[in-house]
């Protein structure tokens, strides 16, 4: 017999095996999930969940697919949170501090409570990356926020109404497009292909009998 624990899904009590994740526990209890379930592997942020262990003051946040149930866990899922996503043209934004002031001015209303960081399901230093965004340090904001799955729990806890994941998204795109060093070998190769440099080589492969292709493949040199 498996060891069972009691969990409270939206307040209703269910007995479930202790080794299950919250997501599997919901399914075990009989929920056919539509919302609040995406990749089931911790990458997509669909299954943001808030819970409290009975008797604890702390309200905790997690991804349901990445967290094991505990006894007396009170669980509420947060399958959607109304983040503010500003619309912008990446070709027209400039990598300056002003862009944050224009698009996400509320970040300057941060009161430094750190509730975002405490709530982050990925254990990111959310308040710190917002501080970088305030200063227009997009590279650091991008690095600090890189593992964000945009689940929105941080924003649900923010008294200043900041949509942290969207701020970070903008910072990463600015960094990737404008600030990261340009890649010369990539640009050269695109140019070579447009110039038809490899056309003959490729066309030869298009015609080659299978036996010759096998020979070519099986004897090819492999870079160390």
């Amino acid at each position: 017999m498996e060891n069972m624990v009691n969990v409270f899904l939206f307040g209703k009590k269910y007995s479930v095996p202790e080794n299950l994740t919250i997501m599997r526990a919901m399914e075990y209890a009989g929920y056919q999930l539509v919302r609040g379930c995406g990749c089931r592997n911790g990458f997509c942020g669909a299954c943001a969940t808030i819970y409290r262990i009975k008797g604890d003051r702390d309200l905790k946040a997690c991804l349901a697919c990445q967290t094991k149930v505990e006894d007396n866990m009170y669980i509420a899922t947060l399958p959607f949170f109304p983040l503010v996503k500003q619309v912008y043209d990446m070709d027209k934004v400039a990598p300056t501090q002003q862009i944050m002031m224009q698009l996400y001015p509320e970040i300057y209303a941060c009161i430094g409570c750190n509730a975002c960081t405490k709530a982050c399901t990925q254990d990111l230093n959310v308040m710190q990356y917002i501080a970088y965004a305030q200063r227009g340090d997009f590279e650091k904001c991008a690095e600090e926020s890189f593992d964000c799955v945009m689940c929105g729990v941080c924003s649900s806890r923010c008294p200043a109404g900041i949509s942290h994941p969207q701020v970070a998204m903008l910072a990463r795109r600015i960094n990737g497009k404008y600030l990261a060093p340009k890649c010369d070998h990539l640009e050269n190769r695109v140019q070579e292909i447009n110039d038809g440099t490899f056309k003959e080589l490729i066309e030869a492969l298009m015609q080659k009998p299978i036996d010759e292709m096998k020979e070519l493949y099986n004897t090819r040199e492999i870079e160390k």
């Binding site: 929920y31 056919q32 379930c37 990446m90 990261a180 010369d184 298009m206 299978i210 292709m213």
Partner: protein, 531 residues
């Protein structure tokens, strides 16, 4: 946290680590690989396949589960659908909100088309989001699209449609450039050179990555771009049948709201199927690395409308799915772990194969090691093989794991396993649908006019096995191409009278073949409820 029963085996792995790092295992010969695959790869297990009795691929063999879903009942009765009541009327209808669908939507929009995306979950709920290791492109000095072609063609057992593969490799650098320009953050050195590694079966280091969140970084950027362009996205809405017109051309889809079950009709001049893969079909009972909605929907939609499948019998089992702990059973452990130097080690601490053989060969080799050779580790939930992750830090220096594969460190860290210090247990997991709908170079199906396909729902780009990093590449290359071509084609299309006669015809074919089943398809979502 490993329980005591693993201690002896972990000690054997640790004791042999220094020797195993230095050891360079030989790669298998062509003959060895062929023999291994025939004996151990799930694709060769005859009893797991059934013959299609109806439809365009009648007489061909596909996995039992796929056969059942392809031949199942429609979710609708065509006579209940009022095709004169059009809820959405667009130029280009994109079905699927993953990497291919998003790329297609962006390019169709760029071309000036009125484009709309429908997706049964949220935009970005897709296998793209979960791709970890990277994306291939031959953009280094010592590499070329021709070398990339040979690697992929051989890795796919010389079965790829060459014109599709040519397009994949030749458009690859431009795809990376396009993504960079959208703001995707690839790993680069301070001079801007791409930091690239090997994948299984590559002969050059051409794997570009964004740590081990490569797919997530690409997907969230594409999604953001779709939103910036204000392309309509109808989420939590699945396409459940294609609509044809009186000339037999694809002309839209019947949609269903996943929550309210409301039925809607979308009319379109061209349709793009970008519905992704099928891991949640759990072929042969395998666990899967795939997202929740990977149920082969596009194959079902296309098949009923008369589109042909190619290589639908070939699946990819990723060699390294998590085998322990059970909470992450089947989750993807990126191939990049091996690219960075970790080797596969059996229960006795022996390296039994080269870590970067192609995925089908690696998976078969692991199955053999755990099966007939009896060198697997009992996980309590099946068998597993060690992937000796501490080797990465020994080779690349302290901090390499945190910098290059943070998602893996986090995934195991949640269960008390520090992959910098302890090896992890893996076993093959259902990962990728090699086959799919048969298309020409312009991404249109070979036999249904105005029906385009992109991404994992396509068959033939990779042949019978796919190399790591060629899927993130194909969703971008073929997604963009499908978007451009569908938009261009839409300019000249006059949609005729809409019809669902093909759904009736397929039902009649089913009846005539004596198939009786209660199953309906597309499946849309798996059912994991405790019954």
């Amino acid at each position: 946290m490993y329980s005591e029963k693993f201690t002896d085996s972990i000690k054997a792995v640790e004791a042999a680590r220094a020797k195993n790092i230095a050891y360079e295992p030989a790669r298998m010969t062509a003959q060895e690989k062929e023999d291994l695959l025939k004996a151990y790869h799930p694709d060769y297990k005859e009893t797991e396949f059934a013959e299609l009795k109806i439809g365009p691929n009648k007489g061909e063999r596909v996995p039992h589960e796929l056969c059942a879903t392809l031949q199942a009942n429609s979710r609708i009765n065509p006579s209940d659908i009022d095709l004169s009541k059009i809820d959405y009327d667009v130029d280009v209808l994109v079905i699927g909100g993953g990497g291919a669908g998003a790329s297609a939507a962006i390019e169709a929009h760029e071309a000036g088309a009125n484009v709309m995306v429908v997706t049964k979950l949220r935009m970005g709920d897709a296998n793209t989001m979960m791709a970890e290791g990277g994306i291939q492109a031959a953009d280094k000095e010592n590499d070329s699209p021709a070398i990339h072609f040979v690697d992929a063609f051989g890795g796919g057992h010389f079965a790829a449609k060459r014109e599709l593969l040519r397009k994949l490799v030749c458009d690859a650098p431009e795809a990376i450039s396009w993504l960079s320009d959208l703001g995707v953050e690839f790993d680069k050195d301070k001079d801007g050179n791409m930091i690239t590694t090997h994948g299984g079966g590559t002969s050059r280091k051409r794997m570009h990555a964004a740590k081990d969140y490569s797919g997530a970084e690409i997907m969230r950027t594409l999604r953001d771009e779709v939103l910036n362009r204000q392309i309509p996205v109808v989420d939590f809405t699945a396409a459940i049948e294609l609509i044809l017109d009186e000339n037999g051309n694809a002309s839209g889809a019947v949609l269903v709201n996943m929550e309210t079950e409301e039925i809607m009709v979308a009319r379109a001049k061209t349709v793009i199927i970008a519905t992704g893969g099928a891991g949640r079909m759990h072929y042969q009972g395998f666990p899967t690395s795939n997202h929740y909605g990977a149920t082969a929907d596009g194959l079902v939609l296309g098949y009923r409308a008369g589109a042909k499948l190619l290589y639908a019998e070939t699946l990819q089992y990723h060699p390294t799915g998590a085998a322990y702990p059970e909470q992450i059973f089947g989750a993807l452990v990126t191939e990049k772990v091996r690219s960075l130097g970790a080797k596969l080690v059996n229960a006795k601490g022996e390296v039994f194969m080269h870590p970067l053989e192609t995925r089908d060969v690696s998976a078969a080799s692991i199955i053999r090691e755990c099966g007939d050779r009896g060198n697997g580790v009992d996980t309590g939930n099946g068998q597993g093989i060690w992937l000796d992750t501490p080797m990465i830090e020994a080779i690349g220096g302290e901090g390499t794991i945190e910098k290059r594969i943070p998602a893996m460190m986090r995934m195991f860290g949640k269960y008390g396993i520090d992959i910098r210090k302890e090896p992890i247990l893996i076993y093959p997991t259902l990962h990728y649908q090699n086959g799919g709908l048969d298309i020409t170079e312009d991404c249109m199906t070979t036999n249904v006019e105005n029906l385009f396909v992109a991404g994992e729902a396509v068959g033939g780009i990779h042949g019978r096995n796919r190399l790591m990093g060629n899927s993130l590449l194909d969703i971008i290359v073929f997604g963009r191409s499908a978007g451009k071509n569908a938009a261009a084609k839409a300019k000249d299309v006059k949609v005729g009278a809409l019809t669902l006669d093909h759904v009736n015809a397929f039902a009649n074919e089913r009846k005539a073949a004596g198939i009786t089943t209660d199953e309906v398809s597309p499946k849309l979502l798996p059912d994991y409820r405790n019954k």
